[in-house]
Amino acid sequence: MPAPEKVYFFATCLIDLMYPRAGLAGMQLIKRAGVDVIFPQDQTCCGQPAFNSGYREEALAVARAQLACFKCDIPVVVPSGSCAGMIKHHWPELFEGEADEQQALDVAGRTYELTEFLVDVLDVRLSDLGTPTRIAIHTSCSARREMGVADRIQSLLAQLDKVEVLTQDREAECCGFGGTFAVKQADIAGAMVKDKTDALRATGAERVISQDCGCLMNIGGAFEHQGDGPATQHVAEFLLERTS
């Protein structure tokens, strides 16, 4: 599709509170490409935490509250594979048979994960102004399997000629975040993040970049707890930093 004049930006509750700079970077990348970014102030959360815990009524109530924010027929860009996946692939299930089902399907139908939008719609061209560095990419399971956008983050980073991308062992294996799983099955999650951080550390990368802050909170938090490991950063922040 040709580049739109404007888009909505969906913060995601995690980025809104915990990683606002990543969200801002995403908005600035889009704005720099000449597209207006609208940030509805009434947005809150896509409903995923409750949905994945089995509390569908509560998830529906919260998801429903977002519909009024994204009424115009313009893309909704989401700086998270898991939240984009929730809207695009699970709202249809959540809203099935509801009075506002069509509205939800409409929003879902124009929802993009951020890197997907930057590559497929804006076809952004990036010039690397940074110093040589080695990174590893962690693609969330939602970004990989639900949204199918593992290649988008790769292609964006491939445009940065002073960035070397290293590949960790068992790259496609889940980091163990899984939202509430990390707390409900804390010890299994702990074992999983240990394996993931070992694999990432072994690459010698200076930074781990991802489309998803949930995974970064998990992986980055684990590196900090272990006292040793690369820095972690959302892809939007990294791209803005390298190209400014």
Partner: protein, 473 residues
Amino acid sequence: MNQTQEFHHRIDDALHNDQLRRNFRSAMSGVMARRADQFPDDDQLQALREQAQTVRANSLVRQPELLERLEQKLTANGIQVHWAESAEQANTIIHGILKGADARSVVKGKSMVSEETELNHYLEQRGIEVIESDLGEYIIQLAKEPPSHIVMPAVHKNRFEVAELFRKFHPDIPYTDDVDELTQTAREILRTRFANADAGVSGVNFAVAETGTLCLVENEGNGRLSTTAPRLHIAITGVEKVVEKLSDVPPLLEILTKSATGQPITTYFNMISRPRQPDELDGPEAVHLVLLDNGRSRIRVDEELLDTLRCIRCGACINHCPVYVQLGGHAYGTVYPGPIGIALEPQRLGLDKAGTLTSACTMCGACGEVCPVKIPLPKLINRLRAEAVNKRRTTTPLTGRGSLRKPSEATIWKLWQQLNSHPRLYRLFTLAATRLRGLTPGKLGAWTRYRSAPKPGSRSLHELARQEGFSHE
């Protein structure tokens, strides 16, 4: 202890067993790589999955008619058909057949359905000797353990552990941990059992209604031996295993072996349609098929959950599960472990008995991605989570609904709903959280056991967006 507490104990044991986790890591990595080697062309793989899904889905659509046709054809062929609603009934039927034939010893080919009914135990209690002939099943029989995987029952054991078992139970044979030598030992030990057993019991991979044919997949030859050497053969399978036509078999066979063990085909594919005919010189004189329900027909009533019944028991979902590789099969505590176990067991046994398994999943989707018949495993698991905490009446036949609902958790989600469906309240909350970020505790329960505590930003994105001049509509 409730099911959740028991599950946590088993998980704890598994996570502290380093040897076990090393065994599983090694085994799963290998089997995943071998499967990937069989599918170099993704388009072809997806087409094959579509075909397999179609065959299995349509078999389920026509299941009652197909079962009737299967029974009719098998009967006409001389194979006797029995129907069992429950595990107990199946065991009773099988025991009855054995007793009627004065059979005292049984040699078994691999059958997960017989694990469901705990057939071995039932028969042994009634004085019938049961020997597992599949090498993996034989190993766990010696160890007195249940299988930890539906295709590779002894995957949790390394060769030293196997060698130790053989040394203990066959002290006259010199100790060895060489895989070839251990295999030869097993061949010799089990050979006499085949030759002398009164009856063979097997599972069934596909039951073809069109011709009344039972199909079995195997590499070792024990399946063929168990179903050919003894005078009596009893096959047991779930009612969902029926397929309509012979032409349905090749795509299922291909994707089964490639998904399960990364083989283009197994050593043997055995198709049984009749007992020994008057002019034939070997094969069982009597062949029986026991069709087991054990909850399957109840599952089929639910339009969404019945997808579970497409399963062809390849184990690929288990092999690719990042949680299974950390725990191994025994931690699940059910006959079927891993993703298919999480989807099936709460349906079979009730959410009040096995619903807690649904927590052992990150919704990563690796299972659904590899399922040869495209069962949407993450979606089904998510559905079961919802049913486990929902007490409201519905038409689904699931039992134990709402048994995992905790008032404290339900309250939290109600509060969460209020917070997130009232924008002003939400913004007030984030204002407070950002301004008070310095008060974020360093210890946050289970989270900080393995990770540092995350801290809110100094301004929410809502505020930054406004500050930076982004319009809000």
